[in-house]
């Protein structure tokens, strides 16, 4: 059971959008998290410090959000070990091959009217819905 939470969804989404805007207007970078993370692990790339700081910021920001308010902590996934490993691999491979994830294609891409990102987002949401519905039906 999951409750519809429109207020926190709209506020949280607005903050995510604002973060993407501030990153682009301040240093001209797209806030695509899979790209930023895969840039950290590809050591041949120059200028990885800002990427590390962004990643550390994600963790710090999340920590601050539940430490000083009534907002709940991140919830531990309730999936079997095999699912966690396979899903992690698929998300890793898929976001590199497809050049982006929910933030890069879904938020930054669509909001600057990129057809390429719109197509990618429709594809990953459809496959996400198909998979979650199948897993949900047989679980």
């Amino acid at each position: 059971m999951s409750e519809f939470t429109p207020i926190s969804a709209l506020i949280g989404g607005g903050i995510i959008g604002l973060a993407a805007v501030v990153l682009f207007l301040s240093i001209g970078k797209i806030a695509g998290i899979s790209g930023i993370v895969s840039g950290v692990i590809a050591s041949s790339q120059k200028g990885t410090l800002w990427r590390w700081l962004f990643v550390i910021g994600l963790i710090v920001g999340c920590f601050l959000s539940f430490s000083f308010s009534g907002i709940s902590k991140p919830i531990t996934p309730n999936s079997p070990t095999l699912y966690l490993i396979v899903a992690g691999l698929l998300v890793g491979v898929g976001t590199v091959v497809g050049s982006g994830c929910t933030s890069g294609h879904g938020v930054c891409g669509i909001s600057r009217f990129s057809l390429r990102s719109l197509v990618a987002t429709i594809v990953f949401i459809l496959f996400g819905m198909l998979t979650a519905s199948l897993v949900g039906a047989f679980a």
């Binding site: 607005g14 996934p77 491979v93």
Partner: protein, 136 residues
């Protein structure tokens, strides 16, 4: 220095947004993706709200010559809809739908770490490494 500080501040802001929106709750993400179940449309609103704010920002950016703390905007230049895009998005979608975690929320969730999150993240990094190696 100021560029790195900006990245840290934005990361913090992004992490706050991810947790408030409950993208860091895999069950909630799955309740959005599982359209055959007890459907929770909350995440659609996260997307709508983020898109409106980001859309306004990009309109402002298009009127600017350069970002405030750097010499040029890194506008993505790819527009082609090719096989890697579709294949990658499909694989990512399947992984997202299996557990309910995408890269940002998975990393932000390290603020309340668990074996499950670590297992997912390590697999994700391995997957990224493999794909980087193959596609280089």
């Amino acid at each position: 220095m100021i560029k790195n500080l900006a990245a840290l501040v934005v990361g913090i802001l992004f992490g706050v947004g991810l947790n408030i929106s409950q993208m860091t709750n895999p069950e909630k993400v799955l309740a959005f993706l599982n359209v055959l179940g007890d459907w929770d449309p909350s995440l659609a609103l996260v997307m709508v709200s983020a898109l409106i704010v980001a859309g306004l920002g990009f309109i402002i950016a298009k009127k600017m010559k350069k970002p405030i703390f750097d010499s040029q905007f890194s506008w993505p230049n790819k527009t082609v809809i090719d096989k890697p895009l579709i294949l990658g998005a499909s694989l990512f979608g399947v992984g997202w739908g299996m557990v309910g975690l995408c890269p940002g929320p998975a990393i932000a969730s390290l603020a309340a770490p668990s074996t499950e999150i670590l297992l997912f993240l390590i697999s994700m990094l391995v997957g990224m490494g493999i794909a980087k190696y193959i596609t280089r």
